[in-house]
Amino acid sequence: MQRGHLHPISSLVRQSNKVFFDMGFSLEDGPLIESEWYNFDALNVPKDHPARDMQDTFFLKPQINAGNTQINAKNTPTLLRTHTSNVQIRYMESQIKKGIQPPYRIVSMGKVFRNEATDMGHESEFFQIEALAIGEDVTLAHLKGTLTRFFKEIFSSSDGAASVGVRFRPSFFPFTEPSVEVDMRLVGEHVPEKLRDKWMEMGGAGMVHPNVLKNSGVDSKKYQGFAFGFGIDRLAMIKWGIDDIRLMHSADLRFINQF
């Protein structure tokens, strides 16, 4: 029997989970249909603020459900999540409810949605990887260290380890302060020439905004930490030299069977 093929996204999820597990991160998941509270408000994205426009959102028509008489704005799912960050809030909230204080370390991977036109580099549904580390002394330097190790393990090939450079640039996200844009560079003779020594934009990160901790019930005077969110599709495109993001959802074995 000829063995079937694992989708490259699943392959990266498998590998990423292993890397983060080894660094003490638990894998957590959350719903794809989400309330505005968990997707925006709790993450310090104010209503009527230009920041809300940064992520074009798919809103759902209300569900007619006779059985559900309780309308709770906090829990009423009204949109397709625009990032995996809803998992951060849900996780911290549930830990606090259980009486468990930080340290917290979680990684979350799953589908997210943006209401925009698609092309070779943009899809309206794609996968995101997100990590959150909260403790009394988690720093921005730990974020750099964590990312360096993650990239190194993901982008090293069997014929040789890649040396990884991680660079931060200033940025803005409502849910982090300071906020940074993360660039990565692969150095080493085993790195494909197309990628070697080039800075590539990977995604956003930063130190969790105190309001996000407060909104989840965590004492922001005592605890701090980092979070980042990157596109898994983009990581896969870099890792395997894939030129079109739309192949990920193409269900085309001409693509999948190469992996």
């Binding site: 079937g4 249909i33 190790r149 302060e177 269900a251 074995l253 693509f255 992996f259």
Partner: protein, 641 residues
């Protein structure tokens, strides 16, 4: 925002800009772009432009992507200059926001300003200038505006625009004589547009405004307007109207420098589909203090360019902006960043950014008290100060550190544990994994605002997506070299009022396909299985054009290796061959040309898949490839059947 390098230079030259006055030269455009990129904002482009007014002037224009938190102060040349000054440690010689002045006027003029709702308009300053001469702008002003893509209109309008792009305060000029006055008393009212029932115009319709460019806008009562006693003169913070337009005949003007609520302006601009340079700035929320600087600067510039007499100002400012101070300790800054910055390094950043500060040296934590300048509305909490230190010092100063290990091992995710097990089981049975879209033709939940409008529902099953995927892949079976197509997907569906993850399997059958779907039940485990991570591969782009399949069967002498034949076939069929394999073998006695009577011989059949990267292959092109292959195999004594 488009930023002219030449314009930036004006902040680094002493008043008047003369060479003798002292002048700090900025580095070249690329160095400025790098400085901003690594310490402030992304640069979308750096373009060299040459303006041709009288003499050729070479300049560079940076397209700076100002982040939403800095729209308060950085949608202006002054804001960007201030950033450059801090980053490169080049002091500004001329900072318009450092000027001291007042708007108290000794002369009075007959204008009454009333703000109906101070929450939507926190300040309104009107300035009155009599006897101006409207005309073309001087070359330097036209060049400045044109360098950032703005059109020069006349000296009054250009002065207002220049000050907006210079310090970020939107301004507007009205022709005073066009305002309706009562007993020689002018009035300006900032109010919501009137509801249809109160409209004086025509029954059933709300107020309207004809803009400067002649378009008519229907207004609703949620929109803030500037009105005289009767008519709407402008939509607050968005656009001015035709009613009081400044033109060549204008002699007396009223200038507006005001502060409008960001959310309100944003909603109005969206509703009217009218985003202007003014609305973009108000949307980000501006400091009401800035309005005074805007008024002072524009009034002075107009008198200088167009003459006339500055009669005075009316300043309605019910609740002045409070002064803000933030406290943060050196220890806190370093504990968030993971750095070892010293007190003097931090103080140096404060000085460069123009943040007045004190440090409590008696405290072991070195607590800084920082005065927030009025325009820096983004500096709200101590963490914002930490960010200022980090970005001005540079993120390259952040060390790389490993997280310490934790006492407890991470949890095992039951859902993931189970889906990984299923993946492995199905792959062993020959199934390949696909992901299909969650959007469908029908389902229980529907998206209200899908951009492309197609497939607005959320799927209630995986089957439909898998059926489509199966059909598509069966067509490519020969190209893929598969005997049968088998697919699986693990994905989310919305059914029975809830969201759940299911597994779907699709297998090709003679009738078409068989698709099954099953729910998942999490399994408890204290560890993850160590499933393989596929070896390194490089993705190879594939042709999207149709392929052609040709079979070739050959009699050969016993003992001939099929690999030997395949090698020849591959060599002779050239670049169009994308797959080739042996698919049938049989031996026979009895003979023909291949080796005489009764010698054992063997027949091999090969399948060749031909495809072009450039176009749809024709039969003739496939035939040509095959003829060449036939010719070459015959030369080797292999006999086509």
């Amino acid at each position: 925002m488009k930023v002219s390098v030449k314009w930036l230079q004006t902040f680094f030259s002493a008043e008047g800009g003369s060479a003798s006055g002292g002048r700090a030269s900025l580095p070249d455009a690329q160095a400025l772009a790098d400085a901003l990129t690594f310490h402030a904002f992304e640069i979308e482009s750096t373009i060299e432009s040459t303006a041709q007014i009288g003499h050729a002037v070479s300049n560079f224009v940076l397209d700076v992507k100002v982040t939403p938190n800095r729209g308060h102060d950085c949608l202006s040349h002054r804001g960007i200059a201030k950033e450059i000054s801090a980053i490169l440690n080049i002091p500004m010689k001329n900072d318009p926001l450092a000027l001291r002045f007042n708007l108290n006027s000794t002369l009075r003029f007959n204008l009454n300003v009333s703000i109906e709702n101070p929450r939507l308009c926190s300040r309104y300053i009107a300035g009155y200038i009599r006897g101006v001469k409207v005309g073309p702008s001087p070359d330097w002003l036209r060049e400045s505006l044109e360098s950032i893509g703005q059109k020069s209109i006349n000296n009054i309008v250009d002065a207002a625009n220049y000050i907006m792009f210079n310090i970020g305060q939107p301004l507007h000029a009205f022709d005073a004589e066009k305002l309706v006055s009562k007993d020689e008393q002018y009035s300006i009212i900032i109010r919501n547009a009137r509801k249809p029932s109160f409209a004086k115009a025509s029954a059933g319709e709300g107020e309207k405004m004809v803009s400067l460019d002649g378009k008519e806008y229907a207004l609703t009562d949620s929109m803030l307007v500037i009105a005289d006693g009767e008519r709407v003169l402008g939509v607050a913070g968005v656009k001015g109207g035709k009613a009081a337009e400044v033109n060549e005949a204008t002699t007396d003007i009223i200038i507006e420098s005001a502060n409008f609520d960001g959310a309100s302006v944003r909603k109005t601009a969206q509703a009217l589909k009218l985003r202007t340079d003014a609305s973009q700035r108000f949307e980000q929320s501006l400091s009401p203090e800035l309005a005074a600087y805007g008024m002072r600067a524009v009034a002075d510039m107009i008198v200088q360019l167009a003459g006339g007499e500055l009669v005075g100002f009316v300043d309605e400012y019910p609740v002045p902006q409070e002064k803000k101070e933030l406290s943060i300790s050196l220890q806190k800054i370093n504990s968030v960043l993971g750095t070892n910055f010293t007190q003097s390094q931090v103080e140096d950043v404060f000085n460069r950014l123009g943040l007045p500060h004190t440090c409590d040296e008696a405290s072991p934590h070195r607590i800084f008290k920082v005065e927030v300048p009025f325009e820096r509305l983004d500096l709200e909490i101590p963490e914002d100060i930490t960010e200022e230190i980090a970005r001005i010092e540079g993120y390259d100063k952040i060390p790389v550190a490993d997280l310490p290990s934790l006492k407890d091992a991470p949890d095992i995710n039951e859902n993931f544990y189970q889906t990984e097990k299923i993946r492995e089981e199905l792959m062993q049975k020959g199934y390949s994994e696909v992901y299909t879209s969650i959007f469908a033709e029908k389902g229980e939940r529907v998206v209200a605002n899908k951009v492309d409008g197609v497939r607005p529902y959320l799927r209630s099953n995986l089957s439909e997506g898998l059926a489509e995927a199966l059909q598509k892949n069966v067509r490519n079976k020969d190209l893929l070299g598969l005997k049968e197509v088998k697919l699986f997907e693990i994905g989310t569906v919305w059914k029975g009022g809830k969201e759940s993850t299911v597994v779907g399997m699709a297998i090709e059958t003679k009738q078409g396909g068989k698709i099954t779907e099953a729910a998942l039940n999490p399994i408890k485990s204290d560890h993850y299985d160590d499933f393989p991570i596929p070896d390194d591969v490089r993705y190879r782009p594939f042709s999207k054009f149709p392929f052609i399949v040709r079979d070739i069967a050959l009699w050969t002498a016993a003992g001939t290796k099929p690999e030997e034949i395949l090698e020849l076939i591959r060599k002779e069929s050239g670049s169009l061959l994308v797959r080739s394999e042996l698919f049938d073998t049989f031996s026979a006695k009895g003979g023909s040309a291949s080796g005489g009577e009764n010698r054992p011989r063997i027949s091999y059949a090969f399948r060749l898949v031909l495809q072009s990267f450039e176009k749809t292959l024709t039969d003739e092109e496939a035939n040509a490839v095959m003829e060449n292959v036939y010719k070459e195999v015959k030369k080797r004594g292999w006999e086509p059947r």
